[in-house]
């Protein structure tokens, strides 16, 4: 494959309205321990997800967060971005199949479903931009990529362009 500069390139850093509703954060952090999904949950969830996805797990520590990378049995690369002492604030995926988004989006899955219903973009690209969830999903032929993050949970100093 030629260059697949996933989630790379220019992030001009659109200013994020600080819609950081405290209630939202509290809600996200309070996700039940038994939940099997990642976004908004604590750092234990990538380990659970990697079991559920039957994949391999590698953790790369970065300055402001850890990247938990799972390669699933069907070859999809899933990355969960977790603050060192906080929740998973972003998930990305890339491969030929769609991973288990219910698992990866956790408590945000229902929000995604309700926001996705009103789109007018077609079956192959979906963009959601709301104060509590920003998400893109692309499904074209045998390409499946996407990422989702919770603006209020992004650690300070982390730009969207870092999430690949």
């Amino acid at each position: 494959m030629l260059t697949r500069a996933r989630w790379g390139a220019a992030d001009a850093g659109r200013s994020w309205r600080a819609a950081a509703l405290g209630a939202l954060i509290a809600c996200a952090l309070a996700a039940p321990e038994t939940a099997r999904a990642a976004l908004g949950e604590n750092v234990a969830s990538p380990a659970r997800d990697h079991e559920a996805l039957r994949g391999t797990l590698a953790v790369t520590p970065m300055q402001r967060y850890d990247v938990h990378e799972i390669v699933t049995a069907s070859g999809v690369t899933v990355r969960e971005y977790a603050a060192h002492t906080g929740p998973v604030f972003a998930v990305t995926w890339s491969g030929t199949q769609v991973p288990d988004l219910k698992l990866l989006l956790g408590t945000y899955f229902d929000r995604y479903v309700s926001l996705a219903k009103t789109h007018r973009t077609g079956h192959h690209v979906l963009s959601i931009e709301s104060p509590d969830l920003v998400m893109t999903a692309v499904r074209f032929q045998r390409t499946a990529t996407g990422r989702a993050y919770v603006p209020a949970l992004l650690p300070s100093g982390v730009s969207r362009g870092e999430l690949r």
Binding site: Q97, D100, A116, T121, G122, V125, V138, R139
Partner: protein, 412 residues
């Protein structure tokens, strides 16, 4: 080529409009020879009329969606058939899928349901970016213009014969109705010959094919490539190496824009490559490259199934009421370069308009519709249907060759 067809096009479009508007309607009818849905007498045998209109009434209005008409028959039957209008023409997927509610009474039961090879019924989950659809896999003959794909596996979405949706299929909103799906059916004629390919033959993958036993327990199943959903055009007796979508130029929001879907590349006088250039696409993903404002978008694609140009440019404001689209104060004239995996490059001038203004026209063909990939997905540049206006876009299939170049590739 376009000019030679223009007169004929008007006739076809006119007749399509005249008999359109209705639903796919009716039950099974007798289908005896002669012309069939969408293809007019005297029109090239390898061509089919297509139209950008408001979609099926139940969908509540679509924009920049391309439709045609297909006749579905029970295998080897010329009598047990039904003509389905508002079949979406999609180069971003492979396979024919029809909504059970559009299929009408009776015919579905005459399309044999496929099996998983170990005694279970075969069902399929298809996961798009915006939701999933679940239904049976059945065998049908598809009459598409004057050509036929015989005994092809198709998906009947929302088929009452399918068990409850398996949890592992649910990756978003359900799109099992004409309203949520936006079409009565979809004709997937992308670069690939099957929807999943070897991945689903060598492994059972959740979210794809399922074998469902008599107790309605469904488990992911590995299915040979030939038994997966097939690109119907690739099964034609002739003109099966690719397709061309030919749409007229659209310079302002317009209603009912008609065009032509041509089967085969370099196989007939009407489907020569001409001055078009070939851009090969990645054989695993179907993608190519785009260069825009100094950045490389490595997962780019031409897609008749997307309603606009979708790419990230943080300097363009999104619409306050619909952040999936751009709303610059006035239309922006932009440039980007499409680059095939073979290195072929061409600069493209295009416009990103104000989507609020465009949508307010209530027109169905919006040539400047554009939007972001919200999470700054800077590797994706989606050249949707606006790119197709005023062009002949070629889609050559994998596994063969067209105009002397092995597929998969796209050309324009």
């Amino acid at each position: 080529m376009r000019h030679a067809w223009t007169g004929l096009l008007l006739v076809i479009v006119g007749s399509l409009t005249a008999c359109g508007g209705g639903n796919s309607s009716g039950g099974v009818f007798n289908f005896g020879g002669g012309g069939n849905g969408g293809s007019g007498a005297g029109y090239g045998a390898n061509t089919l009329a297509v139209i950008v209109d408001g979609g099926p009434a139940a969908a509540g209005g679509t924009v920049n969606m391309l439709f045609t008409t297909v006749t579905i028959c029970a295998p080897h039957s010329t009598r047990n058939c039904q003509t389905i209008d508002h079949v979406q023409v999609d180069t971003g997927s492979t396979g024919f899928r029809v909504l059970a509610s559009a299929l009408g009474n009776g015919l579905a039961a005459q399309l044999p349901q496929a099996g998983d090879g170990i005694g279970n019924a075969l069902d399929e989950c298809v996961q798009f970016a915006d939701g999933y659809s679940w239904g049976t896999v059945r065998t049908a003959d598809l009459n598409i213009g004057s050509e036929t794909a015989a005994a092809v596996p198709i998906q009947v979405i929302g088929d009452a014969a399918a068990p409850a949706v398996p949890a592992s299929c649910v990756t978003g909103p359900q799109e099992n109705s004409v309203q949520s799906f936006g079409a009565n059916a979809i004709l997937g004629i992308g670069n690939f010959l099957s929807d999943c390919g070897m991945a689903c033959e060598t492994s059972a993958i959740a979210g794809t094919y399922y074998g469902c036993d008599s107790s309605a327990n469904c488990l992911p199943a590995a299915i040979p490539v030939a038994q997966q959903l097939q690109n119907p055009v690739s099964l034609f007796a002739a003109d099966y190496n690719g397709v061309i979508i030919s749409l007229p130029d659209v310079t302002a929001p317009s209603a009912n824009v008609g065009g032509t879907l041509i089967f085969g590349i370099g196989t007939q006088p009407d489907n020569a490559l001409g001055n078009a250039r070939i851009y090969t696409v990645d054989s695993n993903y179907g993608t190519l490259n785009t260069l825009y404002r100094g950045s490389q978008f490595g997962s780019s694609f031409l897609d008749a199934g997307s309603s606009g140009y979708f790419f990230t440019d943080n300097t363009i404001p999104t619409c306050a009421d619909q952040p999936a689209f751009y709303c610059p104060p006035s239309a922006l004239l932009l440039n980007a370069t499409i680059q095939g995996m073979n290195g072929a490059m061409t600069d493209i001038a295009f416009a990103a308009g104000n989507a609020d203004v465009d949508f307010a026209t209530n027109a169905e063909a919006l040539p400047n519709l554009a939007g972001p990939t919200a999470s700054n997905a800077a590797d994706v540049f989606d050249w949707g249907l606006p790119f197709f206006y005023g062009r002949d876009v070629y889609v050559a299939f994998e596994g063969g060759s067209a105009a002397g170049v092995a597929g998969p590739w796209v050309g324009f």
